[in-house]
């Protein structure tokens, strides 16, 4: 067993520098690495390229990095819920690369799986296909998409053990396992960190080989973006 635990949040983000590429797990605000994002937003690092399905909201998630203008480029599939993001994008301060969600997921997976590029039908004949190679397979056109990797991947899991094995909960899994594979250094923050041997090996979602650092997050706000409920009948 290789122990991946680190002592504190400072150690979690040590080695992060300006102009690096970071991946952040999460869909909306669900399953985002809250503690790492908060810590990074207090660092003097700028010019970052951030790969994340969404860009957080104004005062939470990646919105914190945007507010301090730490992000130079955002690679996402949907970025609707953030006024500061919109302002920076329209003023040209922030570069934005929008890519189809399935292609984003697969590009991260490919980056971690040693596949440099792949063909997908998604985006053919659209703006997304611009300057991309097109090939016909089974009579259908596909476009060439390249793998994505990152200097650091920040992911969040429900439970983890000190060997870096991760278990996710609900739809908070989303991009986390894929981005965990694609980081040169993957930092996993978990709600509950347990000794090796506690988690059932049959139920591990992300094997510890993909995780270089693991720690238990101090607090989890787990903000809900769209609270929708039904009344008791």
């Amino acid at each position: 067993m290789i122990d991946k635990t680190i002592k504190n949040i400072e150690e979690a983000i040590s080695g992060t520098e300006s102009n690096m590429t970071f991946m952040f797990g999460g869909f909306g605000l669900s399953g985002i690495p809250e503690n790492c994002i908060a810590a990074l937003s207090r660092q003097e690092i700028f010019g970052l390229t951030c790969i994340s399905n969404n860009a957080g909201v104004d005062d939470f998630g990646l919105g914190l990095l945007l507010k301090r203008k730490q992000v130079r480029k955002m690679i996402s599939s949907y970025v609707g819920e953030n006024a500061e993001f919109e302002r920076q994008m329209l003023s040209g301060e922030l570069e934005v690369d929008l890519i189809p969600q399935g292609s984003l997921a697969e590009r991260c997976r490919a980056g971690g799986a040693g596949i440099p590029a792949f063909f997908t039908p998604a985006g053919y004949a659209t703006e997304v296909a611009k300057n991309k190679e097109v090939r016909i397979f089974n009579g259908k056109p596909h476009i060439l998409e390249h793998a994505l990797t990152a200097d650091f991947s920040f992911v969040k899991a429900w439970k983890g053990d000190i060997a870096g094995n991760l278990i996710f909960k609900g739809t908070a899994r989303n991009f986390n396992p894929l981005m965990a594979m694609a980081g040169k250094i993957t930092v996993a923050e978990v709600e509950e960190l347990v000794p090796a041997g506690v988690l059932n090996p049959n139920q591990i979602h992300t094997p510890g080989i993909f995780v270089q650092r693991i720690f238990q997050g101090e607090i989890y706000e787990k903000r809900i973006e769209q609270l929708t409920v039904r009344k008791k009948e």
């Binding site: 399935g102 997921a105 739809t171 039904r230």
Partner: protein, 218 residues
Amino acid sequence: MSLNKNQIAQRIAQELEHNMYVNLGIGIPTLVANYIPKGINVEFQSENGILGMGPFPLEGDEDPDLINAGKQTITTLPGAALFDSAMSFSMIRGNHVQLTVLGAMQVSEKGDIANWKIPGKMVKGMGGAMDLVASAENIIVAMMHTDRSGGSKILKKCTLPITGVNCVKKIVTNLAVLEITTSGIKLNERAPGVSVEEIIKSTDVELIIPEKVLEMKL
């Protein structure tokens, strides 16, 4: 009378078949879940990583770790499964999801769809829409027949940036049910009280009109 959004959803729900896997987009498509015909079971997939999605939670039961693609809190039904985004889009791109219902800003005669970007307006992104339309064999579009200024949303060619080509099979609007065939768009049904002439007038492509156009049954 032309249909309201709920009635469009109600008409689309008639297209559901027993034990189908279905992905519903945001907007009118979401409402389809409220009108599943009696005796029919369908499994809803949401692209952020769930199959077997249930209704909204009861007040107090909401879980921040359980949301749909619209970021709304949801529940799981017995038999549900959870997975990562790459597996989710394997289901979608791999054509394992049998029916996709989407909203649209424009649909062309050839079944091209535009639903992600209006030039000059804030661009929020395509989310999963391009992957959803890329492979699905059965795509139904739910939309109003015309835009706010009365212009047809069904066109010879989309003028807005497209999301995908040759993919839409059926369109259900407030006025009609239309089928996209290799020889053009066929008028299958008209909304109760809406005349064929009215539909022709509101549509910017030449429609194939069968001898008898049935009135929708809701």
